[in-house]
Symmetry: C2
Subunit: 319 residues, 2 copies
């Protein structure tokens, strides 16, 4: 049996009982480690699962899937995937390949950002299509995400933005020369994402995004135990936050749609306060009592901005 | 601490290690049992978790949330939820209530139909907004779902339809008389859903749905171990399948959008074969060898219909 097992979002304890049982019974366990990342290292997984894990990079999963699937008709082989197995197209591919080889397969589901985004308090049925935002280069600035956000916005829907990650990528030069030298991993931050969004708005000028009138929610390490971070406010507030405000990867973002409900605004207030606090404190080097006052002032400002845009731009009647 | 814990989709083993640890540490454990259902009974959960479970109906969760949250500032209380905690608005409400009471909260995520729908092979980023389909009555046939499907269809997107469930509901008469007598549970089937869809299309006539030209995927017990069932084909094929073709609840459906990829068609072929087989066998009482031939003929027809609509209506070039 070929098992493809979702690990969830955070660490070794987010696997399901069923997933853990499958790992224990397997002769080989692979970890797909290039479409997303967990917040813990391989060794920690190995120690908790009591199994050796083979890291599967893009080459192996996309070109060497027959190696992964070898003997899976006679014994149990597991491919571990961060989030849910169907989060990335490439996992559907390997299931299709297994089917062609006549290998029985079983999928063990888990949480993914697609549903955990509900932690923002924004209702899942108010989301439109999910959009990926890739790193711009000097010469390549794909802007199709703008059309997708626009389509969602026209229906009043929220947009979940998945921010690019580059793990084990080759530079253009190394790729051209066939040298297997890899760049250090890169993860798009919320600030980079907001910059790219506003850069394309400035080029396209279709009024889909506005620094001060578009509300957004940024999420760092959703599902993380003590280090999940959710911040909310107009896009401009995110640009004022310091680069480290959102903590380590992974980050994702939500562009808030006009079909916003007052309960969603209420739930988001505490995240708006956090963003206000971060912005206020980052712009000052006050200490002691004065710093506490500044923090409270920042929180109040964050909440007021959030509510202000929700009522004046999004047209909500708030009590 | 107030924990709200996703149980996943199938049975007691779909909980995460982290969720199970929280249950073991709790003084009270509630199970929310009216927005969705697991495929196992409460006693099986209790025996596996080693804890007594209090079933929380709509009254308790929506009106008696302070009872659930009692002492959660001093001890651990868990609310178990089928799927992921943010699948239903009512769970956001109780988190907001906890926040107002100054009770610390923690969410433990899990799979929900919102991401497990990827088991259809349709890519998650090609889905638009999720739509709920409620039971029609003689006098009440809400059709706003039609507008939502239309919005998605105009963007070429797939629509996930969540089919209504009625658990512990009172009849209008019993409600009016204040009698706490409850109707037997009801779960909308795929056939009922297709009937309701086509009924509204016939009324509205906006060409969003067509019995023979709209492809759909039906899913029974997604995430179920041995009883998950996925079938695919044009809407009319689902009407020809017998009522029990999809097995026990829960069922959900996908209306396939025009932004369909040939890999999604390929992945769905096996589900189209299953639907073709079901339809063929249901219309005949042949036995033995003749029945095998009929089955194979049905599978071939199912696959051909699926590919035919994908190429002629959805415009895909298939090899």
């Amino acid at each position: 049996m070929f098992f493809i097992i979702g690990l969830g979002l955070c660490d070794e304890k987010d696997i399901t009982i069923r997933g853990l049982e499958a790992i224990k019974s397997a002769t080989r366990v692979y970890l797909e480690a290039y479409t997303s990342i967990l917040m813990v290292q391989k060794a920690q997984l190995e120690s908790f699962y009591g199994k050796e894990i083979i890291v599967a990079d893009r080459d192996l999963v996309e070109c060497g899937s027959d190696e992964i699937l070898k003997d899976a008709d006679k014994e149990d082989v597991c491919l571990l995937v961060v989030g849910d197995p169907f989060g990335a197209t490439t996992h559907t591919d390997i299931l299709l390949r297994a089917r062609h080889l006549g290998i029985p397969t079983r999928v063990i589901h888990n949480a993914s950002i697609i549903n955990a985004v509900g932690a923002s308090g924004l209702q899942l049925y108010n989301f439109g299509q999910t959009v990926s935002l890739v790193f711009f280069t000097e010469t390549w600035k794909p802007d199709s995400f703008y059309d997708r956000i626009k389509e969602n916005a026209e229906g009043g829907l929220h947009t979940l933005l998945l921010l690019d990650i580059k793990v084990k990528e080759q530079s253009e030069e190394n790729l051209a020369r066939g040298r297997k030298i890899y760049e250090p991993p890169r993860y798009m931050t919320v600030r980079q994402a907001v910059s790219q969004l506003l850069e394309i708005e400035a080029l396209r000028e279709e009024g889909v995004l506005d620094a001060d009138k578009t509300l957004a929610v940024a999420m760092g390490r959703v599902g993380g135990l003590d280090n999940q971070r959710i911040l909310a406010g107009p896009l401009s507030s995110f640009l004022r936050a310091p680069p480290d405000a959102f903590g380590p990867p992974l980050h994702s973002m939500i562009i808030v749609g006009k079909r916003l409900h007052h309960l969603e605004v209420e739930y988001g207030e505490v995240f708006a306060e956090t963003l206000g606090e971060v912005v206020a404190l980052s712009e000052s080097d006050l200490e002691g009592e004065a710093r506490y006052e500044l923090r409270d002032k920042g929180r109040k400002e964050g909440r007021e901005k959030w509510r202000d845009v929700a009522s004046k731009v999004y047209g909500l009647v708030l009590d």
